[in-house]
Symmetry: C2
Subunit: 372 residues, 2 copies
């Protein structure tokens, strides 16, 4: 019997992935860039055990047994085994044994944070450790579980190169800079209350490719420029440019969602209140101090530098007053001393009470890790 | 002393105008198409008096005196006088007299309906009547007051041709079909409750032209095709195509607004609840029975055929329950017998109470008219 336990991080894109050129292999229409978030605050933990006596494959997700008969899950297992066989790092008979997978997130699934990225990254990394191939290029396998999962296999800032080959072999994630390259970078996640039914991102993406005329233009003309400029800004630690492109790319992704027929709408009035707050703050400061980005859901991720965290949190608390402020579960992650926050400027007014579920104050972090 | 009183209609675009190629002359980047709404339910009424003894120009808007020192207002007056002088339809000394303008809307300004279109159309048409040139091409003058005002000078469905000349002389509105061409067409305006601050459309449009990369593509590649297909559908009375393009063009316009930096956000959660309701209704009916369109504000305009009004209103009342239902001021316009509405399908559920301010049930109508 073999057993391995690993953790893998969540990642938040600053250049968004939206649209596949191959639905089956999960090959994207454009490059994307993300930051890997610290596993101290957000991660998936997965234990995989394999044993000759296991009668079948099993998966337990957050305490609940799910069907293993899931094509993406099966594909990841199969591809890792194929790679392990070719590498000779693992005895062939072990590859014939079934596996038991136990996986859980240290954050509520209800948070609407991309748990499939950390989930598939953790699955593939843990399997790779189990079969001794964790040092090989496995992001192209994680990609086949959930596209953005490939980006969670590296620390720091990561680029998912779309690749050119039809077999997807060059559609891989590469590290741009390590997690401690820009140590002042912070990420604050504002988890919003939302009553709306979720639109699946897989479905929305596929409808966008079929119906949005703007998507084609974004993919061909806009994203390559956004990516180039953002990577340059990252290397120069130019927050002004980094932040501006991050916001523009997020807005353009949601514009393409709206140009879809029927439209996919992921942001809500609370999301747009965050957008307004950020632009108002930056206008007041006469520079881009904080940038928002939104995935396929209403939660905001703010990128900012450590020195601006107290002032931004003060503004967040003024614009989004919450009865739970002071409760240690309301602002999670890196500890914040509320008594040390400055007073928010008079220009900011409350958008409404209790519009946020909670806040996660975190930073750029490391990739997956074996922890057993 | 001369005095003339006229009314002019509101128009609601189905192919949207967004972006100027000349800010001063108000020349658009693309053609747009609208329906002129019946003046029975929505109109501006303007009385203009001119007299040798008037010491200055004056304007009273909805009972309140406003400054006449408004470049757009002055330009309209000046251009009409220039034209009247050239036409010799008016004694030259009359053109030297000052004017008193009294103008009011028969709908609340708070409605967020485009009152500048009916307002400038009425101003220019009333001035034209005053100076005897009401049969000339005056849409290019109304355009210089407020772009979309040029479309309110005709009845039925109207196309504002963007034109090519730098002086704007060919940027005029033309009638596509008269108001009784498709007599079954109905328009239901859902006026929503909205707490958000308004973004001016002039400002938003100008920022879009400067910052949205998608706008250029929309203007060059998408709108010409939308316009051609919509005009064809209109001539064939093909509601399915007419409705689909109307929704796609509205969504694409709002997508461009979102792609603007900082983004312009005009639709809110209530608007998107209308979008969902419409797509759900059409999916259930397996055809496009009703189409939404949104201007630079959260109010929805629904286009539909007369036969579907009762069922659509039943669904609207179920999705947007309102304490004022039954109050004659809640559903304005063409009378609706609530007791004759069918029961809405069980699939529809309430989005929340009292999300709509009121509803206007109207139809395609005639152009400006002298009424004194």
């Amino acid at each position: 019997m073999l057993s391995v336990t690993c953790i893998a991080p969540v990642n938040i894109a600053v250049i968004k992935y939206w649209g596949k050129r191959d639905e089956d292999l999960i090959l994207p229409l454009n490059d994307s860039v993300s930051a890997t978030l610290s596993t101290d605050h957000l991660c998936t933990k997965t234990t995989i055990t394999t044993c000759e006596s296991f009668a079948e494959n099993k998966i337990i997700l957050n305490g609940k047994e799910e069907s293993f008969d899931n094509p993406r899950l099966l594909r990841c297992l199969e591809e890792i085994k194929k790679r392990a066989k070719a590498s000779n790092k693992c005895k062939p008979e072990i590859l014939k044994w079934n596996v038991h997978v136990k996986t859980e997130n240290n954050f509520p699934t209800a948070a609407g944070l991309a748990s499939s990225a950390s989930g598939y990254a953790c699955l593939v990394y843990t399997l790779a450790c189990l079969y001794g191939i964790e040092n090989e290029e496995i992001s192209s396998i994680a990609r086949q579980g959930s596209g953005s999962a490939c980006r969670s296999l590296h620390s720091g800032f990561v680029q998912w190169q779309k690749g050119e080959h039809p077999d997807g072999s060059d559609s891989v994630a590469v590290q741009l800079v390590p997690h401690d390259f820009w140590p002042e970078m912070r990420i604050i996640v504002l988890v919003v209350n939302d009553a709306r039914k979720k639109t699946s991102s897989t479905g929305g993406m596929s409808t966008s490719v079929k119906t949005s005329k703007l998507l084609k233009y974004r993919v061909e003309e806009c994203v390559p420029k956004h990516t180039k400029d953002l990577v340059e800004a990252l290397n120069k630690k130019d927050f002004e440019t980094f932040g501006k492109i991050t916001m523009q790319d997020s807005n353009q992704f949601h514009a393409v969602c709206l140009d879809t027929y029927p439209p996919c709408v992921y942001m809500n009035d609370i999301s747009f209140a965050v957008v307004n707050m950020v632009h108002q703050f930056n206008a007041l400061k006469k520079e881009v101090k904080v940038a928002y980005t939104f995935d396929a859901g209403p939660n905001a991720c703010l990128y900012l530098l450590e020195k601006d965290v107290p002032e931004v949190l003060a503004v967040v608390n003024k614009v989004f007053p919450n009865d739970k402020l002071g409760d240690p579960e309301y602002i999670k992650g890196i500890a914040v001393d509320l008594s040390e926050l400055p007073e928010a400027q008079a220009e900011f007014t409350a958008s409404g009470n209790n519009l946020l579920k909670y806040i996660i104050n975190t930073k750029v972090g490391e990739g997956p890790k074996r922890i057993d």
